[in-house]
Symmetry: C3
Subunit: 140 residues, 3 copies
């Protein structure tokens, strides 16, 4: 695994800026288009593994009514990016999720550690595997 | 509209780092100096359009007493940056505002989507138009 | 003091991504290894200056039990980076600290302004001095 240079690092920042904007404005087609067709989202804390865009779509559609009543925002920080010999990028970061209701009041979901595997297809970055671990105290 | 390279992307990160520091330490002259003389701040959710530095100053001065009792902090994320043929940058991002009181307790204002038009004058980036939209659920 | 280019700016982003990950996963050895042997952490609001890794270790170990019951996360934003003639970097940023309990509930510590002096040893960046100022309203 090797560190990436500034051009690649910024490309990854741009990728998340766009992907999180699609997610938070509930553009499901746009969001799913940022995963490979066989992409996987692994919610470790739920013991739930969504394999492929169709499974992710079903899961997301079930959550949509709730997000239509509370605007979600994903706040990410501390991207650690490494590149494999074959070009795969492994990106670790932390994420805080806010929900803003119709009065403008902000609530908070948990904080998470996320690890993504990004691959390149036709020049574009796509997520092949996303692993989400909800923060849980060591003493819990 | 074209994507920008790492040098330009980082220049924009530095611009916001400085602008938000000026804003959050209530350095009104410094903050207004990051807008063009005829710069506009459009608070869509209030239906209020502040045209020119003088109008922005009056609006900000009215808010100052409140911010002297609660330190504001603007937390931005997910900068999407595009460049026009004439060099104008369009920057979209989301923003979360905290207020910290004298006991160190943190409260939250709403979350926002912001879109800025940045132009260059004497080599420096300046905001010509800032459009702020408070997050509001689709179902509201 | 001079601005830094994109490669250096991104190097600093990577430094904090790694350092904050070490801190938030309570990897004390890893975290202390990101300071010079004689590094100093100055908590201005406590009037407490921790001089050298040993003093920092004692302070951190006293806080560990609490952080084993609440996962801490440091959310930083707005890095302003300047470089001295001798290569020392001065980095200013703001920081919001969350604590997530075993039910996933998020609480907030105060917000902070942080200023770091980074030096380079054997090619790696290390903190020589960290100054933390808890946000406190002007009117307080």
């Amino acid at each position: 695994m090797a560190e990436v240079d500034a051009e690649r690092y910024v490309e990854v920042l741009r990728f998340y800026a766009r992907q999180m904007a699609l997610l938070d404005r509930l553009d499901l087609d746009g969001y799913l288009g940022t995963f490979t067709e066989d992409g996987v989202t692994h919610h470790v804390h739920h013991g739930k593994k969504l394999e492929g865009r169709a499974a992710m779509r079903a899961f997301a559609e079930a959550a949509l009514p709730r997000y239509r009543e509370n605007v979600p925002r994903h706040w990410n920080d501390h991207y650690e990016i490494e590149q494999d010999a074959d070009g795969t990028l492994t990106v670790g970061y932390c994420s805080l999720v806010t929900l803003t209701d119709k009065e403008g009041k902000v609530r908070f979901e948990s904080t998470f550690a996320v690890t993504d595997e990004l691959v390149r297809a036709q020049g574009k970055l796509l997520v092949r595997l996303r692993t989400l671990v909800r923060d849980r105290p060591a003493a819990a």
